[in-house]
């Protein structure tokens, strides 16, 4: 029966169970309410149908009853609110240890990049049981990355980064949809997410890997090619601030504001360097607007992110072996 009349998508992520739980609760609440209203109105319509010589009994109302049917729904609503908010809080808070992948959307295609440098189009391979965070942006209009089997969705905007995370719990292939209407081929901006056993995923990552550069490595290469490194030196203070260790910190700006160094700030500083000048520096950096693609930006962001201050373990080191080739 369910084969022909499916009611549920697969449950393939850490969120699926909790979202379905709330859904079932709400379905039950709705059925109860609907039956209550339906039964009451049908009963009243039959029992109190108009009969010759019988007048309606005038009733003004009842404050107590009205209070009851305002307060009880309100309490139920607050339970639903709290329940929904808890799940949402989870959905919007990626764990710190999540593997960071990047997505760039465009009309009408999804481009993904793994930290190891593996790129995919309209397909994303992920290991089961690992926290995966996808950092996303769009080259043109608003899109939305949606995995029904994971019960997760996030709009993808031009000009900024949004993120989505999940932990896949079931091996298999699942739908990947664009959920925000984006023009002609919106319904064709689809693909699949392939969840693999971690060991198989490692094999898949290494398969066909003839000298692929990691994402951070690509970023580092660009960092040199574009001349960033002439001012942003890695050890001594150049004309621009040292970038090592700044990611995730609060940065004091020239105008006295504090800004958190996140993906959006790094992106903005590359494309519109004059927007937020770090305290103590001159606004001399040229814009790279139009010179770097969203994909290159993503790798630059990943590289800046990987730069750790002296004494901190650096991700760059891990990226080096591939980089050397």
């Amino acid at each position: 029966m369910l084969k022909y009349f499916p009611l549920w998508p697969d449950q393939a992520s850490n969120f699926a169970g909790s979202v379905d739980g709330l859904y079932i609760f709400l379905v039950l609440v709705s059925i109860a309410m609907f039956v209550l209203i339906g039964a009451a109105s049908i009963t009243f319509a039959v029992v109190y149908r108009r009969r010759e010589g019988v007048e309606a009994t005038p009733i003004e109302g009842s404050t107590i009853l009205e209070l009851i049917w305002s307060v009880i729904p309100f309490i139920v609503f607050m339970i639903i609110f709290g329940w929904g908010a808890t799940i949402y809080f989870d959905e919007r808070t990626p764990p710190r240890d999540a593997v960071e992948m990047y997505a760039v959307a465009k009309q009408w295609m999804w481009k993904f990049e793994h930290p190891e440098g593996q790129r995919e189009i309209n397909e994303l391979h992920v290991p089961m049981g690992r926290n995966i965070k996808i950092i996303m942006t769009s080259q043109d209009v608003i899109h939305s990355l949606y995995f029904p089997a994971f019960r997760i969705k996030q709009d993808v905007l031009p000009g900024r980064y949004t993120t989505l995370w999940f932990n896949a719990t079931q091996v298999g292939e699942f739908h990947l949809f664009c959920a925000e209407y984006c023009g002609t081929q919106h319904s064709n901006m689809i693909g699949k997410i392939v969840v693999m056993q971690p060991a198989e995923y490692e094999l898949w990552l290494n398969g066909g890997n003839n000298g692929r550069t990691s994402l951070v490595g690509t970023g580092q290469k660009l960092f040199t090619e574009l001349g960033c490194s002439t001012c942003h030196k890695s050890d001594v203070q150049g004309r621009g601030p040292v970038l090592a260790g700044v990611f995730g910190k609060q940065q004091l700006l020239q105008d006295g504001r504090l800004v958190k160094v996140d993906e959006d700030y790094v992106r903005e500083s590359i494309l519109n360097p004059q927007a937020k000048i770090v305290s103590g520096f001159q606004p001399i950096m040229p814009t790279f607007q139009g010179q770097v693609s969203e994909e290159q930006l993503v790798s630059l962001v990943a590289y800046v992110k990987s730069l750790k201050a002296e004494g901190q373990p650096s991700n760059v080191a891990q990226a080096q072996p591939q980089q050397v080739k």
Binding site: P9, L26, V29, F44, T57, I59, F77, I87, Y88, I152
Partner: protein
Amino acid sequence: MSTAAAAPGSNYLTNGSSVSSWLLTKDHKRIALLYLLSVTFFFFIGGIFALLIRLELLTPQGDLLQADTYNKVFTMHGQVMVFFFLIPVVPAVLGNFLVPIMIGAKDLAFPRINLLSWYLYIVAGILMLWTLALGGVDTGWTFYTPLSSQFSRTNVVMAAVAVFINGFSSIFTGLNFIVTIHRMRAPGMTWNRLPLFIWAHYATSVIMVLGTPVIAITLLLVGFERMFHLGIFDPALGGDPLLFQHLFWFYSHPAVYIMILPSMGIVSELIACFSRKRIFGYSAVALSSIGIAVIGFLVWAHHMFVAGISLYAALVFSFLTYFVGVPSAIKVFNWTATMYKGAVTLTTPMIYAIGFLGLFTIGGLTGLFLAALGLDVHVTDTYFVVAHFHYVMVGGVVMAYLGGIHFWWPKITGRMYPEFWGKLSAMIGFVGFNLTFFPQFIVGYLGMPRRYWMYAPEFQVWNVLSTAGATVLAVGYLMPLVYLTWSLRYGPVVGDNPWGAVGLEWMTTSPPPTENFLEPPVVTWEAYDYEHIKEVPVAY
């Protein structure tokens, strides 16, 4: 009006039969009929698009239409239905006809502005049709940027201008109602004696006047960005795409209440009349309309939980959304309680009203799903949302509107429709609606995104059911058109008050004279004073 030399036996329909006596009329009742014809026309235009959508979605492949055509079809379906049918339908037709009569006034406060608002509606409507003739628009009715402002290659600006002009029609109607209700109530018609239909229209008018300018400005900005590349919404020009969504929903969420509040007003009248009782908790029902109008302005970002707003903003908007649920729940309970110990007759209008209760309850309850943050992430932008808002905006509004049309038909035309066909169409409409839209909740939860021209094969069974249901629904919506038209000529002439209803509109003749009342009424009784009305015909 100077021309209204009300001869005995003359009414607003017979007072002048030339084309100009209709097209230049300042009589709110004639303007209501002009609106009746025009919204019906646009309803069928929008309906044809709906039919094309349902036919395309019979199969998972995109086979009937091209992708671009499909996108234009659902866009025009939305724009025509929302802006040219659902928003004006109840206020501009039944509100226009009844607001002055129900409060004992001769006309609206500004009869010329009332006529102007119909002309603005027509100009906007013609522009909309012209847009269509030039190839349509493909942005979705929501005009999301930067798709609409930079990327779409269709007639976005013209469609935006049509909606912009239409907005002024709405603002003028709202303004007219507010002034009329404040200033032109008959002696003795205090605020506490107003029919709930009037309270609902008052609340609606406040939203129209406060909200509509925002959508007008927003669409103007879209036009500026599109034509002059001013960076407002497109990040490539230095704009912010989320700003558009905030502005758009700041109007478009309250717009849902522009659609549903007047319908709730109708339902209050119908349930009171056919239970022969005062509405249970009059003040609570009246104030809940105002409550909905006010809180309705504070919940807009619940359309944007996955759009990229902050976690905490989302929490606040979800919380506030549940507040708007409470007054809606109060109304539903009070309507149901009104039937308790009443003398209920299941006439056509009452069946429509109970149908409204059913559909609105389902629409309202599924709103609880969507306001729940963690669950909304999964179901937003899927067919679950499509089903939800159709239940509220279409199921609810059209049921109530048709109920109202049937209820006041003998007042408007002086003739009665065939009761059998009326009851039948109400029931077919209710069943057809559920067959069409209930499967969409399920396919939405399965993950089918909205605005998809092609879809995954496992979604097909629910789409086939939905399309099948739509044919039933179409019958339910077409039938009244036939027998109501028939009744204009062949329907039995009924008296001034065939339902034995209370309310000033039932104390004048059917159809009413141009000046509404031969003697200016003085009100000395409370609303829904069914206890004291004596002569009660039992014909229906």
